[in-house]
């Protein structure tokens, strides 16, 4: 069981980190919020399992790309653990983004060579 989760983390690791950082771009968010944002923003294409999400969040926090604090939620009358991007996290996101764009362009070129002409 555990192995299965781990494998998925590894498979997704680069992408998952990117997606989570991307989801935090619009402001602090708690874990459930992040998974909802990812799900809705991807039009239900990505469903991040909790067994990947929370390890990833804690890892990102250890890397110093996000920080967390217990804050009052606007719509609920209680505190949740909110994650927010740090300065290095923003840099990391920018780097991942340009890498991603390069990848997309490259793949697009390979898929539609005719358009280049």
């Amino acid at each position: 069981m555990k192995e299965r989760y781990k494998n998925r983390i590894e498979l997704l690791q680069g992408t998952l980190d990117f997606i989570i950082l991307q989801a935090l771009r619009w402001g602090p968010q708690h874990g459930y919020g992040i998974s909802t944002v990812i799900r809705t923003n991807s039009h239900e294409a990505f469903q991040v399992p909790t067994g990947s999400l929370y390890p990833a969040l804690h890892r990102l926090e250890r890397n110093g790309w996000v920080t967390s604090s217990w804050e009052m939620a606007k719509d609920k009358n209680r505190e949740f653990r909110f994650y927010r991007l740090t300065a290095t996290g923003k840099k990391q996101l920018a780097a991942e983004e340009s890498k991603w764009n390069q990848l997309v362009t490259a793949i697009a070129r390979m898929m539609r060579p005719a358009e280049e002409n």
């Binding site: 069981m1 555990k2 989760y5 874990g31 929370y54 390890p55 653990r81």
Partner: protein, 877 residues
């Protein structure tokens, strides 16, 4: 850290609960019932415990945490298996204890700096082309070096002072002394613990004579009275001012025969023509000066001295600086390092044995490991857990080893030869402590790693099934433990061979015929003070004659002889001489050991005269100067020609100031005697001169009395006679000649006893190892043996089967050991004498001993195997 961890744990818990609640709320918003929504949320979430665990792994300290958990678990396992724990710790303690004890010696000799400030700047200054030998220089060289400014903060000279008679304080006593120039203390960077130290006028020729005394002497002879400073004491019949008491344990790091208790200030003249070569020069190099600079600057004045002393100083002399640490280390030789290697072998054997213990225990824990694996433990977790247990045992063994070392410390120290124990006491300091703990950790890893790796691969199906204890890895485990036993046996054999070689060397040396008969001889020294009673040669001769006559009258005394130096006690001083009228030696000098004797000497020692005549009482002060020489000297100078009647002239090559007034006629040739050490294969050139015909001041003599009974029984009578003749003269070091011979091999005894001890321990541990493996295999095969017996196998057959297995392992180990011995005993070559490192008889003998012990170790389990009751064995299934 625990608080922080707890907080984190709680936060994670809450975070995940929030997630579930938010999800359930969202699902309720979409129209699900409360119960249903909660259930769906939980289903979507997955396994909470697992999510927590993988998340926790992202925390940086989870490794440490798991380690702490392993430690707790390991401690529990160790507590629950006291027998196993005790055997493992005891085995490691023997190995680590042996290593720690030897390391404490090595630490002091090789690692610790000398106990002086900035000791790395302290150098022995010597010339390299020194014909006379060793590191000695003469006074003119020292004076020439001292003129060179700017190289050294201080440059001092020191020379062994033999012994001086301290009288006027209770019984007169001979005290070992060192003669030092005033700069020596500055070189060493120390001053007296009490007192003002030497005064400038005392260092000048003609000034008052000053001494420093040791703490030991101060306490023993002066009742630790601080008022002794500035007082005058009588040394060698002359008054000397005590200017200080040195700190306890102070010693000049250039050893003399007996540890000095008095340091006499040398009054160094400003010029000297004295060619005698008995001086050490030590210097404290100035900051910023390199040894190469100092060497080149100091070489120039030596070349100048060559013109003055062409025979003593050659034209191409060079100067060499050695740090005092390097000098003392070199003197220690390689024996301590060899012993450390041998102790390392013992430790490896102990590790192999403990590894085997772990292996056999892992087998009984197979089901536990299988269950943990089935519950989701990964292989690395299992390995870490098993390794943690051995990592706990290792340092425990280290501590126990330290205790073993502490218990055996006095014994080890008593073996260390005095000239190794110099300079800094051998003690259990922080470094030794760290060493033993480090060894503990190392042995923990070493003995735990292989078993842990091996045991972590469990065949779940086989292990979890009821029944067969052998499980999935019996075979692999068997191979590993057999390999461990083989290496134990092999290493033990190497140690056994080493011990046997050393032992035979020692025994061989003690069997060596030194050319004289050492049995039933009592020896002692009598020092003559330079005072009015004994100060002249005539008075000394009269005293010795009188003493001689009284001793000869004692019942049980056969001959009374005396000499300057006893063979095997100290080296007879070399004297330069010229051979008169011999064309081969024309203009060349020859050096030979010199000793004075009385006419009875040869008879007392049973040294045969080869040719010519012996020295008699007729060879007196007034008669023609004569000399006897030994066979080696006769052969080296005259070859086949007859030396009798030829003349040699003492000191002639050294110039008019040092030569005897007339040549000596060779009157007799004496059979060769081993002079300096039993290892000698060829005797030194030696000359015997009648005491009456010696020149210079009256010297102390060493007596050797041939007795017809136990020599020691005569000591009281001898002391009484001496006291009645001269109440102020001490009887020094009464010993039998046999004791002297035995003391001369003390440098061999130290490594021999320790290596033998290590060999014994190794053999014991290896025997336990063989026993363990064979017992285990018998226990494993109980079922099989039961079937064999049921099918009609005889007891003898079973016995043979088990013995064969054990002896086969031992034989493979022996072969490995013999091959290893071939390489390793070559390292012993320096320590061996009269025996080749690959002596076949020794190799065969050691192998037989080893096989016999292995046989004994297999015998008990083999007997047990023959008593297997087939009914019981088969029911067990």
């Amino acid at each position: 850290m625990n608080d922080q961890r707890e907080k984190r744990e709680k936060e994670l818990e809450r975070e995940l609960r929030d997630h579930l609640e938010l999800d359930a709320e969202a699902k309720m918003d979409r129209g699900l019932g409360a119960e249903e929504a909660r259930y769906a949320a939980r289903r979507d979430f997955g396994n909470t415990t697992l999510v927590k665990e993988v998340t926790r792994e992202m925390w940086a300290w989870s490794f440490l945490e798991r380690f702490a958990q392993n430690v707790r678990y390991g401690l529990r396992v160790i507590r629950r298996n006291p027998g196993f724990t005790a055997v493992a710790i005891l085995t490691l303690a023997l190995g680590i204890g042996a290593n720690t004890a030897i390391f404490s010696v090595v630490n002091t000799i090789f690692l610790k700096p000398l106990p002086f400030p900035e000791s790395d700047r302290m150098f022995l200054v010597a010339r390299t082309n020194n014909r006379i030998g060793g590191t000695n220089i003469s006074l003119p060289i020292y004076l020439a070096w001292k003129e060179k400014q700017g190289l050294f903060d201080a440059l001092g000279m020191a020379r062994p002072g033999g012994t001086v008679t301290l009288s006027g304080r209770g019984d007169a006593e001979q005290i070992p002394a060192y003669v030092i120039s005033s700069e020596v203390l500055s070189v060493l960077g120390v001053g007296p613990a009490i007192g003002r130290g030497f005064q400038p006028d005392e260092a000048k020729v003609g000034g008052p004579s000053a001494v420093l005394i040791s703490d030991t002497l101060w306490r023993r002879k002066f009742s630790a009275d601080p008022n002794v400073i500035g007082q005058t004491i009588t040394l060698g019949g002359r008054p000397r001012i005590v200017e200080g008491v040195m700190a306890r344990g102070f010693e000049i790091p250039i050893p003399v025969e007996r540890e000095a208790q008095i340091w006499v200030l040398a009054q160094v003249p400003s010029t000297s023509q004295d060619p005698s070569n008995f001086t050490f020069c030590i210097g404290r190099l100035s900051h910023g000066v390199t040894t190469a600079q100092a060497e080149s600057v100091l070489t120039t004045p030596i070349a100048g001295l060559h013109d003055l002393f062409p025979k003593m100083i050659s034209a191409d002399e060079r100067v060499h600086l050695t740090t005092l640490r390097a000098f003392t280390t070199k003197r220690a030789g390689t024996a301590p390092l060899l012993l450390l290697g041998a102790a390392g072998f013992v430790l490896l054997i102990a590790c192999a044995n403990v590894a085997n213990l772990f292996l056999s225990r892992a087998t009984s824990r197979q089901r536990e490991i299988a269950v943990r694996t089935a519950m989701g433990a990964t292989r690395s977790q299992i390995i870490w857990q098993l390794l943690t247990e051995s990592l706990l045992l290792g340092p425990a063994g280290g501590l126990a080893g330290l205790f073993v070392c502490y218990l055996s410390f006095d014994f080890v120290l008593s073996l260390v030869p005095a000239d190794l124990a110099h300079f800094g006491d051998i003690s259990l300091d922080g470094r030794v402590l760290a060493f033993s703990l480090l060894l503990g950790i190392l042995t923990g890893v070493l003995s735990g790693l292989a078993p842990a790796l091996q045991s972590s691969t469990v065949d779940l199906n086989a292990a979890l099934k009821e029944g067969k204890a052998g499980g999935g890895f019996g075979r692999k485990r068997g191979r590993l433990s057999a390999a461990l036993v083989v290496s134990e046996v092999g290493l033990s054999l190497v140690l056994l061979v080493g011990a046997a070689l050393m032992f035979q060397t020692l025994a061989g040396l003690l069997r060596t015929k030194p050319g004289f008969d050492s049995h039933n001889m009592l020896t002692f020294a009598v020092g003559l003070p330079h005072n009015s009673v004994f100060g002249t040669k005539e008075k000394a001769i009269a005293f010795y004659d009188n003493f001689d006559a009284r001793l000869s009258a004692l019942p049980g005394v056969q001959q009374v002889s005396y000499t300057s130096v006893l063979p095997l006690d100290q080296q007879a001083p070399d004297t330069l001489l010229s051979v008169e009228g011999n064309s081969k030696f024309d203009g060349k000098s020859f050096d030979a050991g010199f000793r004075f004797i009385n006419p009875e000497y040869l008879h007392a020692f049973h040294i045969p005269l080869v040719r010519g005549r012996e020295i008699t009482n007729a060879d007196s002060t007034d008669s023609e100067p004569v000399v006897m020489i030994n066979q080696t000297m006769a052969r080296r100078i005259w070859g086949d020609d007859d030396p009798i009647g030829q003349h040699i002239w003492f000191g002639k090559p050294m110039g008019p100031a040092s030569m005897e007034p007339a040549p000596r006629r060779v009157v007799g040739i004496v059979s060769d005697v081993i002079e300096t050490a039993l290892e000698q294969t060829e005797a030194n050139s030696t000359m015997y001169v009648p005491y009456a015909q010696t020149h210079g001041p009256a010297d102390g003599a060493t007596f050797a009395i041939r007795t017809s009974q136990d020599p020691h029984t005569l000591t009281p009578a001898v002391r009484e006679i001496l006291h009645s003749l001269a109440p102020d003269l001490p009887l020094r070091a009464p010993k039998t000649m046999d004791e002297l011979v035995s003391e001369s091999v003390v440098g061999h005894r130290f490594p021999t006893i320790l290596i033998s001890l290590f060999g014994g321990i190794a053999l014991l541990i290896a025997a336990v190892g063989v026993y363990g493996v064979i017992s285990y295999s018998v226990a494993q095969r109980t079922h099989e043996i039961g079937i064999r017996v049921a099918l009609g196998a005889s007891r003898g057959r079973i016995l043979r089967m088990v013995l064969t297995r054990g002896l086969r392992l031992a034989a493979i180990g022996a072969i490995v050991g013999l091959i290893a011995s071939h390489w390793l005993t070559a390292l012993l070559r320096d320590q061996l004498f009269g025996i080749s490192p690959s002596d076949p008889a020794t190799l065969i003998g050691a192998t037989l001993v080893l096989m016999a012990v292995a046989f004994a170790a297999c015998w008990i389990p083999a007997r047990r195997a023959t008593r297997v009751d087939p009914l019981v064995a088969l029911r067990y299934e």
